[in-house]
Symmetry: C2
Subunit: 324 residues, 2 copies
């Protein structure tokens, strides 16, 4: 990891991640309802509580904490000392809700994306996909219900999150999920099978399909902590860079990794004749491009003027250097 | 129509409805984006701008106006004089947004419900269903994008709707759409094919599947106009009664009407061996039950103490006496 912030001790990122993942998993398990009718809850929980990387929730929490400063976060020493339950009750309840809401949107998109009429994938994170396990109709409904649940999480009626923050979070999430974001990107993806895209078109597709929600994760974290305009802009630049880097690395992994490592079917982009960064620019150039985007992300953090961006740096690192 | 409110002139409901429908259609046409990528916008607009009855939007607007009092509404004389564009800019911008948002949720649910893995219906409002016209993948995405767009509409970033109202509307809509509402009801529906439900179970299914969104429409209209607790409760009772009446009448029409009148496939409940009010209680009792619910709805309006509930009365009338 790039150690640009010399004033601070190196972050024990493994500990940070473990604490934050624990908080996210506990919150998701609490908030995705087992009691939803007629097996719907089972399908929803199967889709969500399956050991994903939780990159988006971690981005929300890291962005929020980068503005709040040290010691305020879910994974801060104080929170760790008080244990996970206390962390859940902590002042950044809004950030934890936002973290889970982006993961629900991500999870629903995977459920629908895996269906026979879309990518027709039977394996996801090493397990049968939701429609294989529960049937297509239940998978469709579970995806729909997960999207609604994301907005339920953002609008608690207990007064724990201010109306202004609720409204801002819903605005960011809806736009990232909808036609000008993820769903729009998937429509381009759908239309691009067997079509020759140039690099600009490919970038536009991924900005929407994957980038919008990753970028929204960072923006939602910032919205929970009253970021300044300059901080928000720098974090948006960071989010855009790692959003794109994520997809470039995804394309690289689809070529170089095997299905067992990925937990999903490898090589399917080439099989489906989908344009990718690798097919467009070649493997070596794609790798160099991922590195460039990584540097852009770190530059944006440096520009932000935020005192502690160590977790965001480490997450950028994780995005680019992951093997699955 | 029951003319209980003797202090007021009878409402010219045809004029009221025409004005309000015009405002809703114009707003939907403006807000459902034609420019969404790769044909997604076309599928979204096809799903929404197709001459539905717009019962839910009308309920939102009527509920809001019943609290605001005469002359404040989209279809008020002042608004009518100023023309439709001015009405769109009027102070009840929140109600118009809420009206469109419930219609988007309704429209997306029809798109997904019609898909082969669900009801496999090829005809909707006299036209080919979305997946028949655009393919299953695009239909799936269009439904997903419409759900997100509903929450976009509720969270304008131009300051036209207060954060408190935005948050309240998102909270109501998300809960009505999700696992404890519409999606949950559809899961019960899915699980109930060929299963014998008793009347309580059937009512519970419909309370979620259809009732939740109809009831939310009324509640969202009330939320746009700062209703008192007593007014909200009375309107909630009204919404619950007409929500259930709507489904009872739907079941009756599925038996007595033909496909041409319905604009969708008639007799499909019996074909699919689905439990209905008619199959459970017989046609005559189902008709009597619809009448009872209608009376309950009007009683709730009388109890509300609201000065002018004529449009809400007329909408209850429309729900029970419709022929399609």
């Amino acid at each position: 990891m790039d150690a640009r912030v010399s004033r601070l001790q190196p972050l024990d990122f493994a500990a940070w991640m473990a604490a934050h993942l624990q908080a996210v998993e506990a919150a998701l398990s609490q908030w995705v309802p087992a009691q939803a009718p007629a097996g719907l809850g089972d399908a929803m929980r199967y889709a969500v509580l399956d050991g994903g990387k939780r990159l988006r929730p971690l981005l929300v929490l890291a962005a929020c904490e980068s503005i709040q400063g040290e010691g305020a976060g879910v994974g801060s020493e104080a929170a760790l000392r008080a244990g996970n339950e206390a962390a859940l009750r902590a002042s950044n309840d809004a950030a934890l809700r936002a973290a889970c809401s982006v993961e629900l949107i991500h999870a629903y998109s995977l459920v629908h994306d895996d269906m026979p009429c879309m990518d027709n994938d039977i394996l996801r994170r090493g397990k049968p996909t939701v429609h294989v396990k529960f049937g297509q109709a239940q998978a469709l409904l579970a995806g729909d219900a997960l999207q609604a649940l994301a907005f339920e999480l953002l609008t608690p009626v207990d007064g724990s999150v201010s109306a202004a923050v609720q409204a801002r979070l819903c605005a960011l999430l809806a736009r990232a999920a909808g036609e000008a974001g993820m769903a729009g990107g998937q429509a381009i993806d759908l239309a691009s099978v067997g079509v020759k895209l140039n690099e600009d078109q490919l970038r536009q597709m991924h900005r929407l399909k994957t980038g919008a929600l990753l970028q929204a994760s960072v923006a939602m974290g910032a919205a929970c902590a009253a970021a300044s305009a300059a901080q928000s802009q720098a974090l948006a630049d960071y989010g855009a860079a790692i959003g794109l880097a994520f997809q470039v690395v995804d394309d690289i992994l689809d070529v170089v990794a095997d299905s067992a490592t990925l937990g999903k079917t490898a090589g399917k982009d080439a099989d489906h004749d989908k344009p990718t960064y690798v097919s467009l620019m070649g493997l070596q150039s794609a790798r160099a491009y991922a590195q460039t985007l990584y540097t852009q992300a770190l530059d944006a953090l440096e520009r932000s003027g935020l005192a502690d961006t160590r977790a965001l740096q480490a997450l950028a690192d994780m995005v680019v250097k992951r093997s699955s």
